[in-house]
């Protein structure tokens, strides 16, 4: 279990305990986090689950593989150094307390 917080640009916070093994795109859509769509179901084809990871947590969210790195080029809001596709972040006890910022497309 990990407590995950999504912060949106309008100042809302959604804080949820996420079961280990679920990816954070699934967790976001299950909990109505805005702007996280996950149309491809987490198979790295749509780039609609983009998040910015809180700096202090970034390294704990795991490696970005080549495919994710490429798909991050297609996000609606341009990627930054702390960008991830949240379908590739898997909940685990090490992520307890993780904070994610949700970009809002134009």
């Amino acid at each position: 279990m990990a407590k995950i917080t999504w912060k949106t640009e309008d100042g809302n916070e959604i804080c949820v305990d996420v079961k280990d093994g679920l990816n954070l795109m699934e967790a976001a859509t299950a909990n109505n986090v805005p702007h996280i769509e996950g149309e491809c179901g987490g198979c790295l084809s749509c780039a609609t689950c983009h998040v910015f990871v809180d700096e202090t947590w970034f390294s704990k969210t795991g490696e970005i593989d080549d495919i994710e790195d490429t798909m991050l080029e297609m996000t609606d809001v341009e990627r930054e150094h702390n960008s991830r596709l949240s379908c590739q972040i898997i909940a685990s006890p090490e992520l307890d307390g993780l904070i994610l910022y949700v970009p809002e497309p134009e």
Binding site: E26, C40, G41, T70, M71, E73, M74
Partner: protein, 405 residues
């Protein structure tokens, strides 16, 4: 009291519509009626990870079952709508209930074509693949060593072949046309997937016509081909395309032509009725088309929610698709309809390549096999309306990223 927006069909388009409707804060009530017992779920994994047992059912759900009631959405799952009465603005279900609507959304999807009963289409052990229920019926039959015959070399058939091989079944795949994927891809893409499947031990028979299935006491036991050859099979999967579920729309007099005809805001010939997803037929670049894809269902559903919230938007999303077979990821951007030329570009990694489709000098689509960069940049390039020359695309010395700017 204002009547709700009624959504008939609870698939991807319905879920995307409902999500956007809620996100936009539209206060009009929603009533969602679907004929399957489950809430809207993702269909693509059915022929992939769900079929192979790697994904639990609940993880297919686009939103958790309780999400709908939490959002104030009324749902009737396992309920079929049998009629639309346009003049009274209401729908009727199988159990005789009627529901009035302010606006009606038809997200009725498509149904897999079956083999005619006269050639064995109704035998036990013959399956099609569209629903969770289809996979659940088929799954116990997917045992190592059993013989699976797949009729049709499209994406469903090929994806199922990959899962079946992984699970240790013997697989024969029949394709009536000259080559697998003939309807949807260039010969080079067909070649890639033929090699992939043959390398995994699938017996692929192209230009091969099925004469009929063979039975023993009502159970399929094999097939006879047009040339008289007989093939043994313990089970048969039929993947020969799908037809739009437009009967309801036809019965109530909406314009239909290979699907429910809609305009660029997904509105049918009745301004109070919209249609989205596999069942809708729309104009793209002056051509009447119907798409069976998550992208189209999601984007059309999303668009209708925006239209009903008063936004001035038009449907012109770039189509995209994907398919996973063994360790190969195929990603497609654009539509290759009417292509006149293709360009092959080797990928940066072994086993990766992309096929770029041109209609004269216009770049219209790309198939990327194990080459996400080609897919991502292809999508960007085509969306931006750029048309790099075939020579630039073929030249691996040219960085695709530079062409996308």
């Amino acid at each position: 009291m204002q009547e709700p927006i009624v959504i008939v069909g609870a698939g991807q388009a319905a879920a995307s519509f409902a999500s956007r409707h809620i996100a936009l804060g539209n206060r009009t009530g929603l009533l969602l009626i679907g004929d399957e017992p489950e809430p809207p779920y993702q269909r693509p994994p059915l022929s992939k990870k769900y079929m192979s047992g790697e994904l639990e059912k609940e993880r297919l759900f686009i939103r958790p079952e309780q999400w709908y009631s939490e959002q104030g959405i009324t749902t009737f799952f396992g309920t079929r709508v049998v009629a639309i009465e346009r003049n009274r603005k209401q729908v009727e279900t199988t159990n005789g209930d009627t529901f009035g609507y302010d606006r009606l959304l038809l997200c009725t999807g498509s149904s897999p074509r079956k083999l005619p009963a006269a050639i064995g289409g109704d035998l036990a052990g013959v399956y099609t693949l569209r629903n969770i229920a289809d996979v659940e019926a088929m799954a116990p039959e997917f045992q190592p060593g059993r013989k699976l015959l797949i009729v049709g070399g499209g994406y469903i058939g090929l994806e199922a072949a990959a899962v079946a091989r992984k699970l240790g079944l013997e697989v024969t795949l029949l394709e009536m046309a000259e080559r697998i994927l003939q309807r949807v891809a260039a010969p080079e893409t067909s070649d890639f997937f033929r090699n992939l499947h043959q390398g995994h031990g699938v017996d692929i028979r192209e230009s091969t016509q099925l004469a009929g299935l063979l039975e023993d006491s009502g159970q399929v036991v094999g097939a006879e081909l047009a040339d008289g050859e007989q093939i043994q099979a313990d089970l048969v999967l039929v993947g020969i395309g799908a037809t739009p579920n437009s009967e309801l729309a036809e019965k109530c007099g909406l314009d239909c032509n290979n699907g429910i005809v809609v305009n660029d805001i997904c509105q049918t010939s009745d301004p109070n009725i919209y249609a989205a997803g596999d069942c809708s037929n729309f104009l793209r670049n002056g051509q009447s088309i119907r798409l069976e894809s998550v992208q189209n269902a999601a984007d059309q559903g999303d668009l209708i929610a925006r239209v009903l919230a008063g936004e001035d938007v038009r449907y012109n999303a770039l189509p995209w698709f994907w398919s996973d077979q063994y360790d190969c990821k195929l990603q497609i951007a654009g539509l290759n309809i009417g292509y006149t030329e293709i360009v092959l570009r080797p990928g940066t990694k072994p086993g990766g390549q992309s096929i770029w489709y041109y209609a004269k000098d216009r770049l219209i689509a790309v198939d990327a096999m194990n080459d996400p960069l080609a897919y991502a940049m292809g999508r960007k390039i085509i969306s931006a309306g750029l048309h790099p020359s075939p020579q630039q695309i073929a030249d691996t010395g040219v960085d695709l990223k530079s062409l996308a700017k």
